[in-house]
Symmetry: C2
Subunit: 358 residues, 2 copies
């Protein structure tokens, strides 16, 4: 990736060159739509294809988007110069203004500035985070790791019952000491608290990380950096349902929204640890199955047909078994076997036997 | 509050006494319904009234609830003895079993075990947290405070960009050093990151704390302990909308669900810092007002009629102004005045002038 500030300046200079040469100012942006997304079988990631669109300043259909992209670029450049970060919502308010002598606002909805930010990511080959624009912060981490962040040394093994709160932007964190051998990422904060109270990360020399529900980009990047810079495998612990499976899918293969960021956002080392259909049988969770609603079945059928799952026999088997059950199950169903069953039996056994899906 | 384990044992002994005396086992539980809730004008909190209901083991309509309460009591006693904590969802799975020789489950839905836990809080005069049952974890904190938790010393001023992640249960945290003079609690994690990046807590010698959306019980208790044990005023920073106002309302006056926990859950020292109707005018946010939907107006009218707001002139004035605007505004609208306007101008000015609602 190029340096974001320089890339923004380069973009500006190109436009000025067009203007001074009496040419129409234009930007060339890769098309972000399903039609231009391919699944790269070699790297196992969703990627943007080569189709691009031109955005011309003098085209009435383009000029507003043109302006929005430039306004967002100006905001990002200021943030980079000031060394400050803004949230997506902040950027919306910062570019929202009425164009003089008109009743037209630069943006009316946040989706417009969000879109412009995605375009800017492509135009500058820099992630939003490197443009100093952050999404929401969420999640906690604990484990045998020491980091340095904003001049503070932070020991993830000495964070009491709370853990370190994961920021929205982890680009500038330095890893000082990484003793842990792997990472368990789980979709539920309550499960994280269970493992943390049982000192699972201490006994197993690992890192435990969670958000609540969907994985934030801060968490995704933190997992990605631990995987890439420290070669740690990432084990995903999610509910046995189409949404839990999809959390893994996005982490591992990427998503349509992230296709232009495939390199910095996908996790080849990710493995799905559970809950699997086989776990349901093996660990006696059958009576805690929750019957499917129509929406669950629909989502499951979508997963089954995704290109990156289509030829994956292990996953297709899971989908089929879930279809037979017509039911889902939660991680916490393991608590029916005892409050620390997950820590003492389930996880150590699964990890020792490398009983993963990939 | 009595010691929870002893209180559970006491409850059990009373029931055994009934059985041995050939009397019907029964429990007396205060009624948790709007009809039994009063607003205590002296303490400014919502409280449970004196109406109680008897729960009799031999009454068909009562026996299931009776059993559920006892099962939850047994789970809590085991947790207390093992020194472990469980989430509400865990407890649901731990009490969910089929009664032998029947097709009846002790609980079918989590609402049933949640209800039983609330009954147990009343029967033992102990909060859920003291019964070692936790809700979900959320939120971050930073500031001039050092705590001790689980043997770790944690300095909230040395937590990098992430902050300390607030656990679901803060009962056993020890405050070692509290230099901060007040707390700002905000409903949005993105605003917290803004203040944190600007080192607001350092410049102003305070604590900044946030969740995302609704305030968790962990955060509420942490605020309450800082207010009670260290006499820190709590300033609430929320959106200018009925939901933002209600966040303050629950923190300050309590809620129907929390009426039985009024003492440990309400915050008399809370003040509403903003966003107020006057801020909209004073700080030039009018063009960032977002027009009300029907649901907003309905909610606003509910607030207007709450007993604890009815005679509060300052709040009634806010409600009236919001009604005139027919619109709401977000904290982040301040970013339209500059990314650090909130840190450099808005907050210092409001706090210096004690421009609060209470």
């Amino acid at each position: 990736m190029s340096k974001p500030k320089e890339a923004i300046e380069e973009l500006g200079k190109e436009l000025v060159k067009d203007v001074l040469a009496n040419k129409q100012p234009k930007m060339t942006v890769p098309i972000r739509a399903l039609s231009n997304i391919t699944f790269d079988r070699k790297t196992e990631t969703l990627r943007l294809g080569n189709n691009t669109a031109e955005r011309n300043f003098f085209n009435v259909a383009h000029s507003k988007k043109f302006l929005q992209t430039l306004e967002v670029a100006a905001v990002s450049k200021n943030l980079l110069e000031d060394g400050k970060h803004a949230s997506l919502r902040d950027v919306f308010y910062m570019v929202k203004r009425t164009i003089p002598n008109t009743k037209t606002n630069v943006v009316d909805e946040q989706t417009e500035s969000d879109d412009a930010i995605e375009d800017l990511e492509l135009l500058t080959a820099s992630s939003r985070e490197k443009l100093n624009i952050n999404a929401n912060k969420m999640g906690s981490v604990a484990g045998n790791v020491v980091i340095e962040d904003k001049g503070d040394e932070i020991d993830w093994s000495k964070m009491g019952s709370g853990g370190w709160s994961v920021p929205s932007n982890v680009e500038e964190i330095k890893f000082k000491k990484v003793k842990a051998k792997y990472v368990i990422y789980m979709e539920k904060a309550a499960v994280w608290e269970r493992l943390h109270e049982d000192k699972f990360w201490d006994k197993q020399n690992c890192i435990i990380m969670s958000s609540q529900g969907q994985t934030t980009r801060g968490i995704r990047r933190l997992l990605q950096r631990l995987s890439e810079e420290h070669k740690l495998p990432i084990y995903v612990l999610a509910d046995f349902d189409p949404w839990g499976f999809y959390i893994y899918s996005v982490l591992k293969f990427g998503s349509i929204n992230l296709a232009h960021m495939a390199e910095s956002m996908t996790l080849n080392t990710a493995r799905f640890l559970g809950i699997t259909a086989d776990d349901i049988e093996k660990y006696g969770l059958k009576k805690h199955l929750i019957t499917f609603k129509e929406v669950d079945m629909k989502r499951l059928e979508q997963l089954q047909n995704y290109e990156w799952f289509k030829d994956n026999k292990a996953w297709q088997r899971q989908f089929k078994l879930m279809k037979t059950f017509k039911a889902k199950a939660e991680i916490q169903a393991l608590s029916s076997r005892g409050i620390s069953f997950i820590t003492d039996k389930y996880l150590p056994e699964k990890i020792k036997n490398e009983d993963f899906l990939k």
